[in-house]
Symmetry: C2
Subunit: 303 residues, 2 copies
């Protein structure tokens, strides 16, 4: 614990997050420029530029640097992660799914562009994510690019986002959802892409086989902590602060971590997971400072 404190005390997280967010958003803006047919590009750019913490791309960049790589090596994959995340938000918000009309502080994509464009914008973002990694990644051996594509794609399929969303939809309104099912939902729906962010960054840098488990342990622990805090924020935060509908879980009688544990215990559990995440990467000494600070940020954030 003493070592951890020493490593972290010289790391200033907020300017770091701000700078990385800027790098990612500049790259995303260039990645999908305005084009023809205009309204589909507008629809994609609308959701992609709607903000958010950009936590997935930032994790990917940090993980690549920790494993000895450069920002440039990871930037295309970082952008792809945000394209995939944005696709999943657009599709999850559709009337046939969660039927949400407010997200990241703005009306959801289908409210502005219609359901047809929202579906197609998601499809295009998903495909474009893979095209972008494949065509834009420089100075990385192609066999590692192939692995990164496999990792990200896997996190979208039934083994990831889609699998989690399916069980989430089928659990809504049920009062008998178990903690096991709740874990399944979030390990797939939130955890898989966060894990892919960390793992892909390490892969791009050519991480040593023996070190990969540390990245994996870090990723899995922060992934679950992230979702626990999301559930807590849905109860205690304001719509203005969160930029999306709040109290929705209660209204839809959705099982959440606070519904099992209460708010205080949920926060405690999230903090324990974050400590475990940090333990996994202490081995890397001062190079781990950014990922250590990001782990803390995940439980201390207010949106």
């Amino acid at each position: 614990m003493q070592k951890m404190k020493l490593l972290q005390q010289n790391f200033n997280l907020l300017p770091y997050l701000y700078e990385r967010k800027e790098i990612v958003e500049t790259a995303l803006n260039k990645a999908i420029p305005r084009g023809n047919p205009a309204f589909i590009y507008d629809s994609m750019r609308y959701s992609l530029s709607a903000g958010g913490k950009r936590i997935r791309p930032i994790l990917c960049l940090a993980s690549c640097e920790l494993a000895g790589g450069t920002l440039e090596m990871a930037l295309p994959t970082a952008c792809a992660l945000e394209m995939i995340h944005t696709m999943s938000l657009i599709h999850d918000d559709l009337p046939a799914m969660d039927n949400d009309s407010y997200r990241r502080g703005k009306p959801t994509n289908h409210i502005i562009y219609g359901e047809d464009l929202a579906i197609l914008a998601g499809d295009a973002l998903l495909a474009y994510a893979f095209e972008f990694i494949a065509t834009q990644t420089k100075n990385v051996p192609p066999e590692l690019v192939v692995k990164v594509i496999a990792e990200l794609a896997h996190s979208v399929t039934t083994s990831g986002l889609v699998g989690g969303q399916i069980i989430d939809l089928s659990s809504e309104g049920k009062s008998d959802t178990t903690l096991e099912t709740l874990n399944f939902i979030h390990i797939h729906k939130t955890g898989a892409l966060l894990e892919a962010a960390v793992i892909s960054g390490a892969l791009l840098a050519g991480v040593k086989e023996k070190d990969m488990n540390r990245f994996l342990g870090y990723a899995q622990n922060i992934g679950l902590a992230f979702q626990i805090i999301d559930d807590v924020l849905d109860i205690i935060s304001t719509e203005e602060n969160l930029g999306k509908s709040v109290g929705k879980d209660l209204k839809t009688q959705k099982a959440t971590y606070p519904s099992f544990w209460g708010i205080d215990e949920s926060i405690k559990q999230a903090k324990l997971l974050v400590e475990e995440a940090k333990e996994e990467i202490l081995y890397f000494d001062d190079k781990a400072a950014a990922l250590l600070a990001i782990a803390d940020f995940i439980v201390n954030r207010n949106n």
Copy 2:
């Protein structure tokens, strides 16, 4: 022309198509086995196993062999092409899009599984296509696998399927659609993935740079011919024969090639395109027999 006839006369297309279809369907059935959560796997498998000509995978396999590669090298990409094609059918059929309830002789995916599962099954198939290429392609240099992924992904984005569908949706019911717009729609909506099928097969085999244009010329010509014949079949075929709703273009006042040229001239134009396609690959002599026969099949088919 004499050379073409000689090359083709010894090639027996129907058993070839039947055998290739079997190879592809067996591989697809193994690629996405039954799994948990069951209904999402069922939904994906329902549309993936609904049949169809499997023309995209067959083109990919044939193109790979023509360029000197093996069936095994191209089979994962061939499967991925069918997953992408199936995804596009599932999403295009949704109520918010073309609102079709009958496809490949069966009720469409959302009719059976609901809109939410249909959207998610499409998303999972799209992501799985890239995972499948990345993890299953053997004996191909990874830099070529990366190129193939870029090619397939590009054919889905606004530069391909999505771009075509957008303009198609926005042209529906308009009486002033130009031939230029109709070409745009089909070059993107149908042509791009057929082109990706041919090009990816050639890429996997390590096609020589100087030969690539021949594959491209072949692909672009058969792509447009394919769509012209689709439009013709929508008018002259029966629902039973075609396995999907017929006469829909007329009902929705959609611009089609026959609406510009009439049926006879449309068939003539398609045949001209197919002849041009065949000219492009005559250079490969007897190795081109399969692709020559497939080109003819595209205009002579009745479904």
